[in-house]
Amino acid sequence: MNLSSGRGSMSITSSSAAWKPADVVTDQFPAGLRVLVVDDDPTCLMILEKMLRTCLYEVTKCNQAETALSILREHKNGFDIVISDVHMPDMDGFKLLEHIGLEMDLPVIMMSADDGKHVVMKGVTHGACDYLIKPVRIEALKNIWQHVVRKRKNEWKDFEQSGSVDEGDQQPKQSEDADYSSSANEGNWRGSKKRKDDEEETDERDDTSTLKRARVVWSVELHQQFVVAVNQLGIDKAVPKKILELMNVPGLTRENVASHLQKYRLYLRRLSGVSQHQSNLNPPFISPQDATFGPLSSLNGLDLQALAATGQLPSQNLARLQAAGLVRQTAKSSIPMTLVDQRNILSFENPKLRFGEGQLQHMNNKQQINLLHGIPTNMEPKQLASFQHTAQSIGNMNMQVASHGAQNNQNNSLVVQMRQPQSRGQILGDSTVSHTPRHPSSMVQPILSNGMAANVASRNGIPENIRAPGYNLVSQASSMLNFPMNHASELPGNSFPLGSTPSGFASKGAFQEDVSLEIKGSGGLMPGYDIFNDLNQHKPQNWELPNVGLTFDAPQHSSSLQGSPDLMQSVLAQQGFSSSQMNGHNRSAAVVSEAIPVNLFPDYFEQVLTSALLKQQEGTAPTENEFDFVRTTVLFMIAVSDVHVHCKRKIFRTIKSAGTRISCFFQKPVVCFVVFLSNLP
């Protein structure tokens, strides 16, 4: 591609036929750059529009953040870059920034008359690729195209990096206009890296003369295949080429896989890194981090209520959960997420919730990642700390669950479910929370995990090797999330090479990471979803989550659930795994609810929930369910703080009294999702 435009040469070298950043540079570039500018000040808006037009950009202006979001959603791939004001009446500019990052992964420039350091820093941490001080001069706008190119360049570069996520590419971007204190790009890479995870790829290779990049839709099945392949190869050895071969999907290119892999790694890394404080951007890839489960803990009560309030969690579900007594309504809520956040985080676009569509929309992936993105920013340090605690507890719980699950061969199914395409299909196939398909060996959880595990696992990459969901958790607070993933691998259906013993508690390490990853990701999104793992129902083998769809029930199709399903899924998935494991022998698989930060695994969550719901609907939850379900419900309690510990105990007692076997009691606070597999209609 020729690097044209007199704006300077782009030193991008592309050697392969892959899409290169240079591809977007045409003769007229950057003319025609499609900019969306958002500002509630009409004077500024008009001036900016004129300036951008003078730069030969295509400008769309709007004065409300909500309008901007709907415009962006309506015209996916219709914009290259967004410029937004910080202070707006209907929505905070940083919130909009997060949304855009999560959903559309576009570069966003913040601007404000406010040049205080903390505000600019906020822009950096939220992932803005630049920050302009008003009054904005035209010179500053002339160079905004570099953000678009840089972003793509880095993605392209990542394609080429088979083994590692290359983050060194990003150079700090210096605004050419010295007058404006544009923030350096150090924070940008982080944001953009995270954002990349959310990118969706479509199948067509876009015309190189446009600024679009080829996109492949990473459907649930595809993603699961991907995760399976990665697991088989081993996360460290997974190179795009081999993954591509293993996946054996016609039409998929190595670049698609590479970019997806990169996102996946980032996702995993983020999970492991979230536990560390936000400032620490480079957590060891799989290092168990102190999960910041803080938010998670609050998820239980808070989320449920919040979710219920937001309509995401059907009130009936909430009631059910509450009734079950397993859900801690007290919101210890350190959840930083506001309802809006939750919704945002949880929300996958409508498509996601539509299980009937049969697939998690690509958005799922995006959402997942997005969620992850958003979460850390929302998390407060202390919450992070609590997360860690919860993560720990989760880990513990998982361990226990795992131990139980070990007994049950089916346990593997926990994980397996996720991977099993068929279950997936089933789950997804149902328009409503349909019953999770009963796979003989499908564990309820797996169902959830199908979506979740797949997502989770694939996301974390690590989970692949998760053996003992629980174990990992123990070691890692964050392993909670990974939990499901680990399980997933265990599930027979899983093609995960992880090979962890079916009871798979072996892989503690993996688990931890997973969990931590997940948990971290969620940044406390842990919705109070109680995913009901329909473990007990049906056959020992059916680790179905009858009620996975607690959240799914209503919202399945509604976007309101958006967030929840995902969370649920992930939660379920996680839970499912643990529970299935636990109840291996115990038909009534307890639902292991992990407080999976929804954020982390929107996809998973959704899938999990979907599967759970599906199962439920399938009627796999026979009457025995109610009781069985209770019995099989594995309650993971995550105590984020002391208070939680009490609740945890209480819950344990409740469960015990309900006949459920509780094999482990985590001392450490662990984010715990109570997933109830309920067959309640």
Partner: protein, 154 residues
């Protein structure tokens, strides 16, 4: 008055405004944005600024008139006014807004009321000046001349 004379008058007047700090370089940017395709750009933007500012000033008056002043809201309004005035190039208004915000932070009612007066004062001043300037430009254009670009050496 012939065109040349009008143009000179315009240039002198504009320079004075800059010297006295009513306008700053941002205003020049606006003028440079105006071209044959958008001959009324400056007029439109300035009118927009006037409308918006008057609304903001009203809101500010009301907000400060409350028994319990919500300083956050006041600050938000002032911030907005600061943004738009700086985008127009109304320097003195912008500076008055900056001082205003400082007092808002301190939650000093008396000081903020005084600031409001100050901002209003500056606003009406610059409004007056800009209207005069734009009128001069219109006259030149009506007489067939072109608006001279001012090089202030910014």
């Amino acid at each position: 008055m012939e065109v040349g004379q009008m143009q000179r008058r315009l240039v002198d007047y504009t320079k004075t405004l800059f010297m006295e700090g009513f306008l700053d370089a941002q205003f020049l940017q606006l003028q440079q944005l105006q071209d044959e395709n958008n001959p009324d750009f400056v007029v439109e933007v300035v009118s927009l600024f006037f409308d918006d500012s008057e609304k903001l000033l009203n809101n500010l008056s009301m907000a400060l008139d409350q028994p319990n002043v919500d300083f956050k809201k006041v600050d938000a309004h002032v911030h907005q006014l600061k943004g738009s005035s700086s985008s127009i190039g109304a320097q003195r208004v912008k500076n008055a807004c900056i001082a205003f915000r400082n007092f808002c932070e301190e939650q000093n009612i008396d000081a903020t009321l005084r600031c409001l007066q100050q901002v209003k004062h500056e606003y009406y001043l610059v409004k007056n000046k800009l209207e005069t300037l734009l009128r001069l430009e219109q006259q030149i254009v009506a007489a067939g001349g072109s608006i001279p670009m001012i090089d202030m050496g910014f």
